[in-house]
């Protein structure tokens, strides 16, 4: 069974005039994804979760560390082998209207797949393949084919993108905030669709800022803060027994439907303040060349709390 594995992955951006400063977007992240498992990357903005998604999809380069698919380092893939990689791993993004080229019809995304991956397939066979994909995502071909993107709803567009990914026999799907721009009543349908696909053996990296969604759909959860993992493990353990102050704060701040916001207890408040002070924005940016990565011995390692549940130690300096 192919495994998607991230090993001490870091991403550094050059910012400022002529690249004088550096921004550490992802620090030393390691985890793996199995087919048939949903793993959530949960974090607020600036947490690096989308960057990790882009790196897995080879849309952004890895600065340090490796991402391997079935043991093969994806950084080395070129043209032919890269195409093969895309047969196994695809992505769907947040804004359905941005994911389609607005001047072409929506189903052109299927044609692109056909041209690249199924060049010799006869028309009739292709059409039945498309029909099968559309059925798998509960879309009516008559309603969605031959239409421009602006004539379809956000939910339909996102499902079309999932159908597109299913045309290839993918093992992994990176879903980056795919339902945050959809209406509440359609969100759950797309989410349930992901659940069905998982049951059929698809491995999903579910990126979101919404803890309720992560909790609903994922087997394992990774909480990210400022590019680093602060807690990870089986979902019910991370949510049921949160260890890191950041995780606790997130859970306390999530607006729930059946309980009011909790007042953060003073001890937790103090821990959060200290955490923010120790990892200030100044450390987030550094002059080029003087960047210190956690693997150089300056970060917080993950410590096992219980089986299948790790949390970063909070440094008390």
């Amino acid at each position: 069974m192919p495994v998607l594995k991230l090993d001490r992955v870091s991403k550094v951006y050059k910012v400022g005039a002529f690249g004088g400063k550096e921004l550490l977007a992802v620090r030393d992240v390691s985890f793996d994804v199995q087919p048939g498992e949903v793993i959530s990357l949960i974090g607020e903005s600036g947490s690096g979760k989308s960057t990790i998604g882009k790196m897995i999809l080879r849309l952004s380069s890895v600065t340090r560390g490796t991402i391997t698919w079935d043991g093969v380092d994806i950084a080395g893939l070129k043209r032919g082998s890269l195409k093969t990689y895309y047969r196994t791993t695809q992505g769907v993004f947040q804004d359905p209207f941005s994911s389609y080229n607005p001047i072409f019809k929506a189903d052109r995304v299927f044609n692109l797949i056909r041209q690249s991956f199924f060049p010799g397939v006869p028309r009739a066979e292709w059409q039945s393949k498309v029909a099968a994909s559309l059925e798998a995502v509960s879309l009516d071909p008559v309603q969605v084919l031959n239409k421009f993107p602006h004539q379809l709803s956000g939910g339909q567009l996102q499902r079309l993108l999932i159908a597109r990914a299913l045309l290839l026999d993918i093992k992994f799907l990176v879903a980056d905030e795919i339902i945050s721009m959809l209406d509440a009543s359609t969100r759950i349908d797309v989410l349930n669709l992901l659940g069905e696909l998982k049951e059929r053996g698809l491995g999903i990296v579910f990126i979101t800022h919404d803890l309720s969604l992560g909790n609903y759909i994922s087997d394992r959860t990774i909480i990210l803060r400022r590019g680093a993992i602060v807690e990870m493990g089986a979902t019910e353990k991370v949510f049921g027994n949160p260890q890191h102050p950041y995780t606790k704060m997130l859970l306390a701040s999530v607006p729930q439907l059946h309980s009011k916001w909790e007042e953060l207890d003073p001890e937790l408040k103090a821990q959060i303040t200290e955490l923010s002070a120790s990892q200030s924005d100044e450390q987030h940016y550094a002059d080029a060349g003087r960047l210190v990565l956690p693997s150089d011995g300056d970060g917080s390692e993950l410590v096992e709390v219980e089986k299948d549940h790790l949390a970063a130690q909070v440094r008390t300096s």
């Binding site: 607020e44 849309l59 607005p102 692109l112 797949i113 956000g154 993108l161």
Partner: protein
Amino acid sequence: MSTSGKLAEPPDLVSELEPPVEPDAKHMSGFRETLHFALRNRKLVFGLSVTLTMLLFAIVGPFLAQHGPLDYGGVLSSAPTTKDGYWFGTTMQGQDVFAQFVTGLRLLFIVGALGGGIAAGIGMVVGFTAGYRGGVVDDILNMITNVVLVIPTFALLLVIAAYLQVRGILTEAVFIGLTSWPWAARALRAQTFSLVSRDFVDMARMSGRSSRQIIFKEIAPNMSSYLFMMFILLFGGAVLIAATLDFIGLGPSGTISLGMMMQLSVQNAALQLGLWWWFVPPGLAIMAVVGSLYVMNVGLDEVFNPKLREL
């Protein structure tokens, strides 16, 4: 990288409106569909008709002219008449205004196409490259663009004119092309930037497309209307610059253009003397061509952008 706490933009108000049904658009292929809308757009049809009419006139006109544009021999300063083929009258020196007009019109289109074309070509290369590659390449190309932008073109042309005794239309067109590309490059770079960050470019990459394919098949077609319109604007701009240069006496030697006609008519006090047929036709022609090109441009935007069609 966002540090502003912004996660997602809620759906735009426009999505509250029902997308209207497009009549008869279901069974057409891409190109035919565009044509269908193109023929229905009044601005496009109007602009195109005027431009094509003038173009036709420019092509056929010189064959109809009874005299050469620079030939003397007609009655001096005569108003338009049907006698001897002096349909547009004569200049103060007895030259055929009609012949001059059609020759000038032809030159107008040549300068516009050539000058505009060169500017568009350079602008595209610089703009696409800077927008797609970004980084250091972008910084360097930006510097070059800025330098060319601030060169005082008139001063430069005066200097060149002083050295070149004989100037052809080609020289004029090349010069215009080489000095008017910066704003096109800037605009294209900005457009390319905004398109490159869109998710459909990432989708294309994940569909196995190479960078070249993405630029030409995804980004450029998205800008096809923009490119077309830009060319039209550069065309119009080249025509206007050429007319201005001609008007101040820096026109091509050995021939006559519309701008030069206007220059000569002013020099000979045509306005005061009431010789309207000498300066009105060239002025109107320039206005008509450039104006109709701009109107055509607005129409084209509506045709190319499916969203704008319904509004």
